[in-house]
Symmetry: C2
Subunit: 442 residues, 2 copies
C-alpha cells in the first residue's frame, strides 16, 4: 500500500485528483488531499471515502506540513511554483519522493545529490508545458536519431486556448489557467537559435516578431518566442541543431492587439497606482498616451499608427476601454488593474470548453535527404472545470507517479520526462485517454 | 572636537573629502576615511596628517564597521546606496548621526522613530540630484508662496554631461559617475502629472517622448522623464500643481541614438550571455535583429525605419558596432557588455572637463497674472578628477554636515534639504564656491 499526499487542489489539479481516486483501489493507494479549502476537497472525494481523506492545509503551518509529509510515501506538490522548495526540503529530509509539474528550480538542484543518495525521486516538469512537450518531442527525436537521422532544426509551440465552439469573443481567448501568468507572459527576453545564430527578442517587441503556424483542422495560430530555448539544446540532445525555438500560441490577431498593452505600458507590474478606483479604464489608457485634446480613442489610434487596425480596435472595445468603465481595485499595478478587467471579460463560462494546441516541427537529414516532420496535438476540454488544461497538466504527472510506484521506472534525484523509461509509458497511456499526437511528413 | 567618519572614497567623494580636510583645523574635526583602497586615501591626506587618518575598509567586516562607527560622532556613507542600511543601523544603535547623498530608503524609514527619539540626524538626498535640486527648487517655491503666488506647474531637469570644450565625441557624453547607472537609466516606468492628468511612460518609449529645454549660453538639451515625479508633490508642498515633472538631460540627439539600444534590447540586465568573448559587438547587434542576408548595418537601418538617421548612425559607428570589434568579457548581460565598450569610448580623459546642468521651470499665478520663471545652474569641472559631479554631489553634503555640527540647524530623524534651515545656508555657501543659480522671468 502506498500513501500519496497531494498538496493543492486548485484549478489545475482536478484531472490529477480524479486519476488518483479512480485508480486507488486497483493499486492499493491511500490519497490524502491537503488544501486551504477543505470543503472543496470533501466534495471531490464523496464517492471515495475508503481510499481518500481531506485535510485543511495552511501553507504557513510548518509542523502540519511536516506531519503530513511524514505520513506519506509520495508527495505531489500542486502549489504555486515558488512554494515547492519548502515541501521538497521536507520530503528529502524525511525520505519521501516528490513530483511537480513545474520547471526544475534551484531548490530542487540543491536537493539532487541527497535525493540520489537516499534513492528518492524528484520528478519535475511533468505537466503539459513543461511535460508533454518534453515527452512527445523526445519520442520523435529518439526515433529520428535511432534511424541515423540528424536533426537540424527544432521548433516547438504550445498554447492554452479556447475551443472553436466556445470562441465567442474577439480575442479568441479565455483563462484556463493562472490569469496573472497570461498578463505577464513574455516579460524578459526570449533567447533562441535561428539558422546557426544566437537571437534575442526583448519584451518590447516579442508580440510583433511573430510567426504563423498551422494545425490541420484547426487553422492558423500566432506564435511568439518563449523564454530561453537555448537551454533545451543539451537536455534534448540537439547540440548540432541550427535552429532551436520554443514558442507560445495564440489565436491569429491576439498578438497584434496585446502589443498595444505592451507598447502603452499597461502590463507593467513594478509599481502600484494608488486610488485606482477613482479612475476609469479610459483614464488609465489616457495616462499612457501623450497629451492632447482629441478623444482617448483618437489619441490611441494616432499613437499606435500602423500598429493598430479595425480588428485590434474591436478587441479593445470589447474590453470597454473607451467606455469610462470604473476600475474596481483600490490599488494595483497596471498589470493587476488589467487582469481584474480581463478576469471578467475572459471568464470560462459554464459549459465553455478550452483547448490545448501543441506542435513540434522537426527538420532533419536522413541518408542525405532533407526531411520535415510535424507532430501536433489538440485536446479539447469537457467543460469549464474538466478543462483540457487540467487534463494535460495533471494526467502526465499522475501517470508517471503511478509508473514509478509500480516499478515501471527506477530513477532517482531530479528527473524530467526526456528519458524513454518515463516518456514511453506516459505517452502510451495518454493515447488511451485521447491525448494523441498526429505526425505528418511535410 | 568632532570625529567624522567617511566610508567610501570613490569617484564622487573627492570634493567632499577636500572640504572636510581643508576645514578640519578651523572646526576642530578629526576625519577618518575608510575605503577598500587605503593607498588612495593615504595619498589624499598627505598634507593633513594631524587631522586625518586612513583605514583599510572591507564592507563585509562587520566588527570593523562597528568599531569605526563607535569611535565617530558623525558618519558619512559614500558607499553604493544599497549598502547604507547596515551602516545606518549601526549608527542609530550606537547613537551616531549619519548622512548620505542617496534617496531615503526603506531602511532609513525603519530607523526614523528611534533616531528622532535619540536626537540623531539621518540626513539624506543631500547631493546633487537628489540634493541641490531640492534645495534650489524649494528656495524659489517658498519665495513665490511667501509673496502669495500659487504654483501651477513645476518641471525640473538635471544632467551630468561633458563640458563643451571637452565634447569631442558624437554622443556628447562621457562618464562622470557610475557607468552602470547610465546604461540602466530610465528602466521602470516614469510617472508624472501633466495638465492635471496622471501620466506614465514605460521604458520602451522613454527615450522617444522627449522634450527640448534651453539654457542661456549653453544651447539646447534633450530631456526625458525621470522615475516617479508624483511623489515630490507633497514634500515640495505643490499639491495644487497641475504639472509636476522631473527629467534627465542629455545632449541633443543622444536620446534618439540611445533608443536604438532600448529597442534592440541591448540594455537588458536580466540574463547573461555565456562565452561572450567568442562574439564581436557586430555579432551581438545581429543577435537582436531579425534574420536576413543583408549586412548587419543594413538590417539595423531596415529594422529601425524612421527611428534612425545619419546622426544616429555616426554615433553607432563611433562605437565600432559594425567593425567586428571583439567583446572582451567572458560572460555578461547585454547591458554589461555594452557598458564594457562604453567605458572605453566614453572615458573622461586627462584634462577633460565634465558639466552639470540643472534647470527648474515654474509657472505660477500671482495677483491674477500668470508668470513663468526659470532657475538654471551650470557647473563645469576642473579636470577629470575634480569633476563638477564630485563637487555638486559632495559639497552640499559636507556643507550641511558642517552646518549641523556648528548648530546652524537642529533637526533629527530623516531630513532632506527641502527645509529652509538646511537649504538656505547650504545654497548661500555653494554660491561662494561658484555653484550659482541664475533666475529668469520668461
Amino acid at each position: 500500500m502506498s500513501k500519496i499526499l497531494i498538496i493543492g487542489a486548485g484549478r489545475s489539479s482536478s484531472s490529477l485528483i480524479d486519476y488518483f481516486l479512480s485508480n486507488a483501489k486497483t493499486y492499493a493507494w491511500h490519497i490524502t488531499i491537503a488544501d486551504a479549502n477543505k470543503k472543496v476537497v470533501e466534495s471531490k472525494i464523496t464517492n471515495y471515502k475508503e481510499v481518500a481523506s481531506a485535510v485543511e492545509f495552511d501553507v504557513n503551518n510548518v509542523s502540519l506540513r511536516e506531519e503530513l509529509i511524514k505520513q506519506a510515501d509520495f508527495v505531489v506538490s500542486m502549489l504555486p511554483a515558488f512554494m515547492h522548495g519548502d515541501v521538497a526540503r521536507d520530503c528529502v529530509r524525511l525520505g519521501k519522493h516528490i513530483a511537480t509539474a513545474s520547471y526544475v528550480s534551484q531548490d530542487m538542484k540543491d536537493l539532487d545529490a541527497e535525493a540520489k543518495q537516499k534513492n528518492l525521486l524528484l520528478l519535475n516538469e511533468c505537466g503539459l508545458d513543461p511535460g508533454i512537450d518534453h515527452a512527445s518531442a523526445m519520442k520523435v527525436i529518439h526515433e529520428i536519431q535511432d534511424k541515423g537521422g540528424k536533426i537540424t532544426s527544432f521548433k516547438s509551440f504550445c498554447g492554452g486556448l479556447v475551443a472553436p465552439e466556445s470562441n465567442d469573443n474577439p480575442w479568441g481567448y479565455k483563462f484556463s489557467w493562472n490569469p496573472r501568468n497570461v498578463i505577464l507572459a513574455g516579460q524578459g527576453t526570449a533567447q533562441f537559435i535561428e539558422e546557426g545564430k544566437l537571437k534575442f527578442i526583448p519584451y518590447n517587441r516579442i508580440y510583433t516578431q511573430i510567426e504563423t503556424i498551422e494545425v490541420d483542422g484547426y487553422g492558423k495560430f500566432d506564435a511568439y518566442a518563449n523564454r530561453d530555448s537555448i537551454g533545451y539544446k543539451e537536455p534534448y540532445g540537439l547540440n548540432d541543431a541550427n535552429t532551436m525555438l520554443r514558442g507560445t500560441l495564440r489565436m491569429p490577431g491576439y498578438c497584434k492587439a496585446w502589443n498595444v498593452f505592451v507598447k502603452l505600458g499597461l502590463t507593467d507590474d513594478t509599481y502600484k497606482i494608488k486610488n485606482a478606483n477613482t479612475l476609469t479604464y479610459t483614464d488609465l489608457l489616457e495616462a499612457f498616451l501623450p497629451k492632447g485634446s482629441a478623444s482617448v480613442k483618437d489619441k490611441l489610434v494616432n499613437f499606435m499608427g500602423v500598429d493598430i487596425d479595425a480588428e485590434v480596435m474591436s478587441k479593445l472595445e470589447f474590453l470597454e476601454l473607451f467606455s469610462n468603465r470604473p476600475i474596481k481595485l483600490k490599488e494595483g499595478s497596471p498589470a493587476e488593474l488589467l487582469q481584474n478587467l480581463l478576469e471578467e471579460k475572459w471568464l470560462l463560462k459554464t459549459g465553455d470548453k478550452d483547448m490545448i494546441v501543441m506542435q513540434h516541427q522537426f527538420e532533419y537529414n536522413l541518408n542525405g535527404a532533407n526531411k520535415k516532420l510535424e507532430s501536433s496535438l489538440v485536446v479539447i476540454g469537457d467543460d469549464e472545470v474538466h478543462t483540457a488544461m487540467a487534463k494535460t497538466v495533471g494526467l502526465p504527472l499522475a501517470i508517471s507517479i503511478k509508473n514509478f510506484l509500480t516499478g515501471k521506472f527506477k530513477l532517482y534525484g531530479i528527473q524530467i520526462p526526456t528519458v524513454k523509461e518515463i516518456y514511453e509509458p506516459m505517452l502510451s497511456e495518454l493515447e488511451g485517454l485521447n491525448i494523441i499526437f498526429t505526425e505528418k511528413e511535410v
